[in-house]
Subunit: 344 residues, 3 copies
């Protein structure tokens, strides 16, 4: 796609300094700008790039005053950073809306219903009694099994696998090859050392505005639902066990695992590679730093946790400092021992 | 599906207290019971839910005596919990057996053989010389490459990718998007800093009653076989390296990684996010707690390991207690130093 | 496939001791050798297997002198180990080249271009404006989205998902169900506790001779490119965040995560389950041991790191030794206290 500088200035409510007929077709960082690209300058730390960039146009704050010669056409706006973000979002929307219709071959059960504005990629599979909302984009190689419900304005990327009876709200995004609703890991030990599979008959319930990363896995509940509340953001390769509940607007970074029946509060921030024990109840606004291992829940909201086993971060830092001092401690101890010996 | 209370009581060998013609169509926890659902009461801690639940029917122990009015129809059985489990399993079997036949389009080589009772989902790919047993359910988007063998009564969920020459036993379940048989991670360092790929020509051998989680990866051997013994249960996102052998009935929780050529004994329980070094030999019945990092194998069966580097859990707990006491230790040391100073 | 011992000796420039007309059809470890298999003996530690193996042929160093009777035909070469590796590679090449042509049904946009020597598996999806080089093997269920470029001699295994605008060099291998180019994990916190999605409009750039493991995820950049340099080898289930750059010939083992905007130097060796913080700059030749958590970059090349938070391995080992001595330290401290008390 190609836009004139004028079109973009109109979209951003900006003022043009330069040739309004210039055309741009891609977005770039100011230091990487090439002909045909548009960039932005928000932080004056990067001002020097304006004087060397090959970008065709640069969005700047309207208060900005250049100190040297520059070649790009400028678009002056209230706030260059947020204007550029707006531009990114508009561009994304345009791209997303280009995908329309049902590609063939695809496999859609007669009993499935699909709202208008849909995109169904080739080789997608929608089983019986599924209900797909409006403006849903389903990329190739998605499997949606029986009686699953997907709300409006969702995007399901390639290779996502959704087990039966999954409920997904509106405005959700699920990235490629994520698996929603596989069996919880439940096996009953038998007297002979073998394990019997405990049937997993619950489902996964995902509310609105949830984002789930590539290759993440969310197991369905044994009975009842594994629940992902409104606004939750889950990164790539995260594991959510059966019967877990993740509270509203909680964010979980990559490769973290939440064991079965844990309940995580709202507005928590969980770092990458964190492990959370089963059957514990993490309060709202808890912050868990990367790689921490949470075996017990903190007893108040807003606690910052780190380490394994996780403790309050401030205690962790003190302990780490003392651990680093162990060689000195050892030396002091030996000195005392020597002194006492020589005193004898 | 819908059943009458009478049908269910017959299946469970139970006695009915209430209207035997009532119909139920789903399973629920007693506190979540709605009209049309059946639940159970096994632990009297939850007895109060019986008096408020909207469930149509509730399975109870035949020794149970209600203390208040209740609305559901009761089904009295020997053991309510195990009766409910039986119900879950029967329900699961009914669901599973509904899937039958070969959906189109699918891609099945002429030289592949498939036993009776099969389900092959649309867009599945079965390459030449594969042998698929009886009653095997292969969901959409599965790839099974050349000369792989799958036993009877297996379920292979959507998107599973099986590399050539993989051997899978009977009664196995592989969850969505798991990858069986990718290249082991083997590269020979060259003088110029680059790496040459070491061809990985072995395979993966999976015995009977094995379960493998969603998005798990099991690499094939360089030469010979990566072996998963009978009854092993592997959770989501687990990594099994090349030439690893996992002993009978060992259970491995999510996101654990086992490096190349490690051998894990039988009846071990490995927690989540555990790392196991290559080329070590873990004895039978070892228990590794979550996030532990096992660089050396314990020297006897039944050891409980934790921490990184992993030690016996009892030592780990002692050490952790002493680490938590480090601030106090520091204080004691300073007091001694002060005392000695003032004594001088 | 079947070869005579003579054909193999020719390929390896070896000399035959035995019946050159014998036929072999598989490769095996010497201890597992069965009739029809060929093996090798490089390390004399395994010499005893030569006298018991059922292998039809065994490759040995030409300096090797057997001490007992043996049954296999021998092939004498300069270096048995490297000859066997050559054999593995040749075998692999033959297998790979058997895959040719475009299987149906597949979905290839009219505007996509594909070089000669291609294999496109059934149910593969190649979107508009993609450019695929020569001798590229694309297995079933691969999705390659708009305007992506793949160089010559690449192998893309089943179920790999490639987002739009991804650039992949020559001689790359991507294993099953890996996801290249999903959204970076970028969300701007709002005053009301919700998060706004930050559009991710960059791409992923992968240079030549890169290998990426099964179920690995490499996010695209917010703006600009996430870059994987020439010769990088990435294992299964690894997470590479947005705007990361991985330097030439760096090797990353399974389940490691690299957070957004981190830059890793050339020729590094990163172990399994390592966590690397965002926005840090790891120097060339850094070695990170398994499960380490790198929050700060080391300040010189070639540093060996371990532990969380990661320190130089030599310091880590000292600290670990002192931690193990804590019970003894506690005892010494108590003795001193008692002595001082009794002196009072």
């Amino acid at each position: 796609m190609e836009f004139t500088v004028e079109q973009i200035a109109l979209m951003l409510n900006g003022e043009i300094k330069g040739d309004k007929s210039l055309k741009v077709s891609q977005l770039a960082k100011i230091e990487d700008g090439t002909e045909g690209s548009i960039s932005f300058l928000a932080n004056l730390k990067y001002e020097h790039f304006l004087y060397t960039t090959q970008a065709t146009a640069v969005i700047v704050d309207k208060t900005f005053e250049p100190k040297k010669e520059y070649s790009p056409c400028l678009i002056l706006v209230e706030n260059a950073y947020s204007a550029f973000t707006t531009l990114l979002q508009e561009y994304q929307k345009i791209l997303a809306n280009q995908k329309k219709g049902i590609e063939q071959p695809s496999f859609i059960s007669n009993s499935a219903t699909i709202g208008e504005g849909e995109y169904i990629g080739a080789f997608s599979y929608i089983a019986s009694n599924c209900k797909i909302g409006k403006n849903v984009k389903i990329y190739p190689h998605v499997t949606i099994l029986e009686a699953s419900i997907i709300g409006d304005d969702c995007t399901i990327y390639s290779g996502v696998k959704i087990y039966p009876n999954t409920h997904i709200g509106n405005h959700c995004t699920i990235h490629a090859n994520a698996v929603i609703g596989a069996d919880g890991f439940g096996f009953a030990p038998q007297a002979d050392g073998t394990y019997q599979t405990i049937p997993q008959l619950g489902n996964v319930l995902i509310e609105d505005y949830v984002s789930i990363g590539a290759n993440a896995t969310i197991d369905r509940a044994t009975i009842g639902s594994t629940i992902i509340r409104e606004g939750v953001k889950i990164d790539n390769l995260v594991q959510i066990g059966h019967n877990v509940e993740i509270g509203k607007n909680t964010v979980i970074a990559a490769q973290t695992g939440v064991a079965g029946s844990a309940k995580i509060g709202a507005n928590c921030m969980i770092g990458g590679q964190v492990g959370i024990n089963g059957h514990i109840n993490i309060p709202n606004k808890t912050i868990a730093l990367g790689q921490s291992g949470i075996s017990k829940a903190p007893n108040k909201e807003g606690t910052i946790l780190s380490g394994t086993p996780a403790t309050e971060n401030i205690d962790y830092l003190k302990t780490q400092a003392l651990i680093r001092k162990l060689p000195a401690t050892e030396k002091r101890l030996r000195e005392i021992e020597n002194k006492l010996k020589s005193n004898e």
